[in-house]
């Protein structure tokens, strides 16, 4: 059995009178240590699948097993715990808190985990140093470039040592060169054993992935 087992999941949204099938009977297996890309045009259901894997959303039907646990049947608190302990997110628009420094932004998830301040700061500084921002700890997001901001976000996604790192178009807001730097960083994380799943429609991203799944209209249409 694979580390992540997605079995026949569907996700429907009701928009007024019409029902939109964002996902329609999708099956997917992901092994530990994979670097998976979900490719497809907008509306293909790739982001919906990512959100389901991240516990931000629940499927209308189907099973999602992560390490044997079916997260499709978790309640809100269970999902919050799942997100905190097992998943790290990076977003297209970074989603850093503008009033906080780089260090505080990385500390932020650990606040909700209830870790003591000294431990939080030490770990946040360690991770920021690892992503090459050791000299930018006290900078606010507005004082950092886009690439630096996304590196802060990567550091933040790693603080709780997640099983899976999920990224929704993490290079979408970056120029090619900076995007390439971020992908290189993610690749080296993957080489260190980190399971990574990215959503993208940029073919250049897929070069870094160990596997790419193509999606269209709520179905998986191919793999390479």
């Amino acid at each position: 059995m694979a580390f992540i087992e997605v079995t026949d999941i569907s996700r429907r949204f009701v928009m007024g009178d019409t029902v939109v099938k964002a996902l329609d009977g999708v099956d997917l297996q992901v092994e530990r240590g994979e670097f998976l890309c979900l490719m497809g045009p907008s509306g293909s259901g790739k982001s919906t699948l990512l959100n389901l894997l991240g516990g931000l959303d629940t499927p209308t039907s189907g099973l999602i097993r992560v390490g044997g646990d079916n997260i499709a049947e978790l309640d809100e608190n269970g999902l919050a715990d799942y997100r905190r302990k097992r998943v790290g997110f990076i977003f297209q628009s970074f989603n850093l808190l503008p009033t906080m420094t780089a260090l505080q932004n990385v500390e932020y998830p650990m606040i909700f985990a209830g870790l003591p301040p000294a431990e939080r700061q030490q770990r946040a500084a360690q991770l920021l140093t690892a992503v090459g921002l050791g000299d930018r700890l006290d900078h606010k997001p507005t004082e950092l470039s886009g690439g630096q901001q996304q590196r802060v976000a990567v550091a933040r996604s790693l603080v709780n040592q997640p099983d899976i790192l999920l990224g929704d178009e993490p290079t979408g807001n970056l120029d090619t060169k900076t995007g390439e730097e971020i992908l290189t960083m993610l690749t080296s994380l993957n080489q260190g054993g980190q399971t990574i799943i990215l959503v993208t429609h940029d073919p250049r991203v897929t070069k870094h992935a160990s596997r790419t799944v193509h999606m269209l209209d709520g179905h998986i249409v191919g793999e390479e």
């Binding site: 959303d57 997100r83 997110f89 989603n95 932020y108």
Partner: protein, 428 residues
């Protein structure tokens, strides 16, 4: 989530919107200030009235009158020796003494003075709270104890308009002028009794300052003379007034007074009047506080509005909170506490503002009142404050403002909790 982290998060969130927080808290300032000032006015009025009532006499003394309109009436209800024993057996009663007044004016050399003279049991002065400034309060035959203001009542009858230096009465012999009328001829007969001042009472600010106290036996004898030799036989037929002294507890005063009244006597005490007055003022203060609470309610709506706006503006942040694993409880707590802190800040400033304003009212109003009474030639009204802020009010007002803030924050916080994280993270 740790408490210190929660507070740090809340404070940094509030600092981000400091302008809005100030305006929102201003509503709370007004509401809390209104509560503080209105209740202070009520409490000030209460304390002025209470202290002026208390100056009428000790609060643990019950005055019992004979011939009161009790249900039984009649000779059974005489305040005689038996009644004294009965009253003494009521739990909570410390002492019972008769009190009988006798008319007459006093003379010291060429000066004349008036005072109410009371006959009391010779050893009852301590029970009645009559402490002496000079001499003794023990009454022996032929001696009297005078209140400190009695001397001021003396005047020169040949020049009644002229103010004189009050004589020092202590140790002096005063002449008490009594008169009686022959029942058949109507002819007036005068008598002069020599009385030595054995003690001067401490000033209490109450009616005792103006009284003269004499041994009961002296008063009985003089009354018999006034009644043309007929003894009043108070012990057998009843004293006109008994004073029942109880333990110093308003509840006991009230219970003893009730038991005496139940036996058909007419009883009165400052203590139980105060009790009634306190109840009245409790209602007044609640009503005044209610008016202030309306202002605070409006402020609560302001807090709710600010928080709703804040939740909208921080939608992405809420999405992020959820994405990094914050429980709904954490999200709720952050927003509710933010609202509560706005309430507390407004409450603290409001209490300070209300308290300062009540100080100003005291200065201005008291100056006005004393100017008015002076212009009308009246005496000092003896009011020392118009508004009085009790300590409990300070804590109550701040606590109430906090609570109002928390409650106002619940609805916006629930909206934050209910946000869908996927949409919240993409919110523009």
């Amino acid at each position: 989530m740790r408490f210190t982290d929660l507070m740090q998060l809340v404070i940094s969130n509030l600092r981000r919107m400091v302008g809005r927080v100030v305006f929102t808290a201003l509503g709370v300032v007004i509401g809390t200030g209104a509560i503080v000032i209105l209740i202070s006015l009520g409490a000030g009025l209460q304390s002025s009235l209470t202290s002026s009532l208390e100056s009428f006499g000790a609060i643990n003394q019950i005055t019992v009158f004979s011939g009161g309109g009790g249900p039984q009436g009649g000779s059974d209800q005489a305040l005689d020796a038996r009644a004294i024993r009965e009253f003494q057996s009521i739990p909570g009663v410390e002492a019972v003494t008769p009190r009988v007044s006798i008319g007459g004016t006093y003379q010291l050399n060429r000066l004349q003075g008036g005072a109410t003279t009371y006959g009391i049991a010779p050893l009852a002065a301590d029970d009645l709270g009559l402490a002496v400034e000079r001499g003794t309060n023990r009454l022996s035959r032929g001696t009297i104890v005078v209140g400190p203001k009695v001397a001021e009542q003396f005047f020169d009858p040949r020049r009644p308009q002229t103010e004189i230096e009050p004589p020092d009465l202590f140790g002096q012999t005063l002449l008490l002028q009594l008169s009686r009328f022959d029942p058949e001829t109507g002819a007036q007969e005068d008598r002069t009794v020599r009385l030595r001042v054995g003690g001067v009472l401490e000033e209490t600010g109450g009616e005792t300052d103006f009284n003269v106290y004499m041994a009961l036996d002296d008063v009985e004898e003089l009354t018999a003379w006034q009644q043309n030799g007929v003894s009043p036989r108070w012990e057998q037929e009843g004293y006109p007034t008994l004073i029942v002294i109880t333990q110093l507890d308003p509840a006991i005063v009230q219970s003893v007074e009730g038991q005496i009244a139940d036996q058909g006597y007419f009883a009165f005490s400052i203590g139980s009047s105060l009790q009634g007055l306190n109840t009245f003022f409790l209602i007044v203060q609640a009503a005044l506080g209610g008016i202030g609470a309306i202002a605070l309610l409006v402020a609560a709506i302001g807090i709710g509005n600010t928080m709703v706006m804040s939740v909208m503006e921080r939608t992405r942040e809420i999405g992020l909170m959820k994405a990094v694993g914050a429980h709904n409880r954490d999200v709720l707590t952050v927003f509710v506490v933010e609202a509560g802190i706005i309430g507390v800040l407004g409450g603290i400033v409001g209490v300070i503002a209300g308290w300062l304003l009540s100080l100003i009212i005291n200065v201005v109003a008291l100056a006005y009142i004393s100017a008015q009474t002076a212009a009308q030639g009246g005496a000092d009204p003896g009011i020392d404050r118009i508004a009085y802020t009790p300590l409990w009010l300070v804590f109550f007002a701040i606590g109430f403002a906090f609570l109002i803030g928390l409650i106002a924050g619940i609805f916006p916080a629930l909206r934050a909790v209910q946000l869908d994280p996927v949409r919240a993270l993409k919110y523009e």
